[in-house]
Amino acid sequence: MTTISLEVQQPQRKWPGRRPLRVALIGNPNCGKTTLFNRLTGLRAKTSNFPGTTLECRTGKVKAGEHEIDLVDLPGLYSAEFGQSEELLAADALHGRIPGVDRPDAVIVIIDATCLARHLYLASEVREMGVPMIVALNMMDEARKHGLTICLETLGKELDATIVPVSGRTGEGIDQLRDAIADDLAGDETIHTQRATAMTDRIACTACSSCPHTNRHTWACGVGAAAGQDVSEEAERRTEAVDRVLTHPIAGVGVFSVIMFALFFLIFKAATYPMDWIDAGFGALGDWAGSVLPEGLISSFIVDGLIGGVGGVLIFLPQICILFFVLTLLEDTGYLARAAFVADRIMNKVGLPGKAFIPMLSAHACAIPAILSTKVIESRRDRLITILVIPLMTCSARLPVYAMVAAMSGTILYPGDGGAWERGLLGGALFFGAYMLGITAAMFASLVLGKTILKGKPQELVLELPPYRWPSLRVALLTVWDRGIVFLKQAGTVILLLSVIIWAAMTFPQLPEEKLADVAKPESVALLAQYEAEIQTATAAGDTETADAAQVEIDHLYARYATEYSVGGRLGKLVEPVFAPLGFDWRIDIGVVASFAAREVVVSTLAITAGIGEEGAEDEGLLADTLGSMTRPDGSRLFDIPTLLSLLVFFVLAMQCLPTQAVAARVSGSWKWAILQFSYMTVMAYTAAFITYQVASALV
């Protein structure tokens, strides 16, 4: 076998007329494709999935002359024939093998001018597909800096395509690329049909190898050498010098830890400001709506259901934006590839590849962007395991629960004004323990999953380490914009719907005000009478302040019993026997039930059932005191240390976030995985909380 069967189809030029021309943008990973795509489309890009696949693609409109084309950004691929997961799906999309998705009408292949020979491989494959093609010779600015000269004529002749030198970073050549699109792709039909000749004619195949890669590479090297040259070894040395530190088994891990620490410091510190603004903004909006709307069901629906629900999602947006911003910058510099390289050995110990590390780390901010970023993991097994264990990491939504447990155990163990130090240390230990528990559980779960349901070994490391480059702020900002919108769309719609459902479950059936005295406990009835008497005397004395304060107390009492009276409250009582071995009573259960949709609601729900109203959750001291004073039927403290620990363990391990589940189902391609995720995490959380409660009760 000395020839390779490369069938060249005559490019069929069909200007579709009615619909815009669909042009696919393809290139090797790290060829600067995203930058170029953003240059061409600006903010007019949409992210969506190819029908029936988990392949995400961005589509944008590009003005080329008087035409407007649809530019489709496919994931980076090394070859249009061979590959795995994303790469294979991208190749399928290119060949029109995805049902319901037409083959692109034309292709723009991006070639890195500093590394001609390797990138020509893909270009040669596309050329043989017989699709009209334009070659964008990217990173020309960098090539010039390295003193490389490239003969565009030779390259154009060999590839039978228009070659446009560009730089996505500086914007050089973008207008010429638009012109080429208008002239070559959207223009006259005769240009391309004459061009196709079989590559087999051109390959001087002297090596007696049957390997089609070698033949293609030989051709690519030949053309690359004829048209230009690759970056000298001298230039490579600089990258290698940096790599000696960054990929070092010890120093590399050190640098990695520092960078990741800085990232999380940014996420938790810098994000506080916009988060406070969002919180304050939605609070003000809620107050305003509450004051404008007549008191009642509609007001409650809009203020608590809608505004509270949307605010609850938006509050996480700053953290997610910072996460994506920094990760995009890091990826752009080429550092993330080194991070995956360094992490590979460590991650292999728990049966995962190095590429799983960044998603798992991101999960400490929010599981949703983390699951979305698992797409970089090639092997399906590795990707599924990563998705399944990601929600075990401590996300921001768990922090209010941790803070509550820390404050309450501090009050129990170190009461009084002294002991601030001890309380601080205890809080730190509890937080650290909770984070570690999540990480350990994730390692344990991935080991078990990798030996049972998703049997196999993590994919061996094969990873390109691109040259270090200055990151582009523009790309990072556009990515943040893009990802932010995806997050709002995916999480926003689901969580909005859920907020409405939770609101309804905690509101209906409504407790008629006159029935409060019937359902309330004797001591509450006594309190009610006391407050009413207070109001009367205060009003008579003209002391509106005391009267208002008493009225607020009555409202809190009412809210408490109204919650108990609602579907959610009844459900809490219904499941009491289930959670009793964990030390939870029905009041905690109401919070647990509500938190299965979104865990951050548990604190406010507990505040309501404790009778201090939703706003009571804002005041940490008041909340800790009030919850701390709640008792069991036998008069003992409800939130004792064993219960608090059990609650903490349960919230670390339980899958309590429906938006995450929706995203997991989408990215994994099936609800089956989301259900498995929910089941194993709930079982694990229940078991661990049970053991914690029983052991702690025996010890205390």
Binding site: A117, T214, E236, E240, Q459, L461, V462, L463, L465, P467
Partner: protein
């Protein structure tokens, strides 16, 4: 170039074999060594094809940048990070 299945040990024993036949697994080369790729054994298909599409193929010059359980090799202007497990299947004819 084919048929060079001698292990480094055999090569040492046989001593005087021509440089043509002397191939070493990429995983056994130390940092800084250079060579030409002689053969890529078909063991782990997917990963080896990936290596090839990244530009690591027979006849190409290769340089080891980092050795160990995780290796960095420079080939055709591209740096590739790979595990020793994969590198075992890449046979290299060392050059000076």
């Amino acid at each position: 170039m084919s048929g060079s299945q001698t292990t480094p040990n055999q090569v040492n024993r046989l001593g005087g074999l021509g440089s043509q036949a002397r191939t070493v697994a990429l995983s056994e080369l130390s940092a800084g060594s250079r060579g030409v790729i002689a053969r890529i054994d078909e063991a782990d298909h997917a990963m080896l094809i990936r290596l090839k599409t990244m530009g690591m193929h027979e006849g190409r010059a290769i340089r080891v940048v980092r050795s160990g359980t995780r290796i960095i090799a420079s080939c055709g202007g591209t740096r590739i990070g790979l595990s020793a497990e994969v590198a075992k299947h890449v046979r290299v004819t060392p050059t000076a």
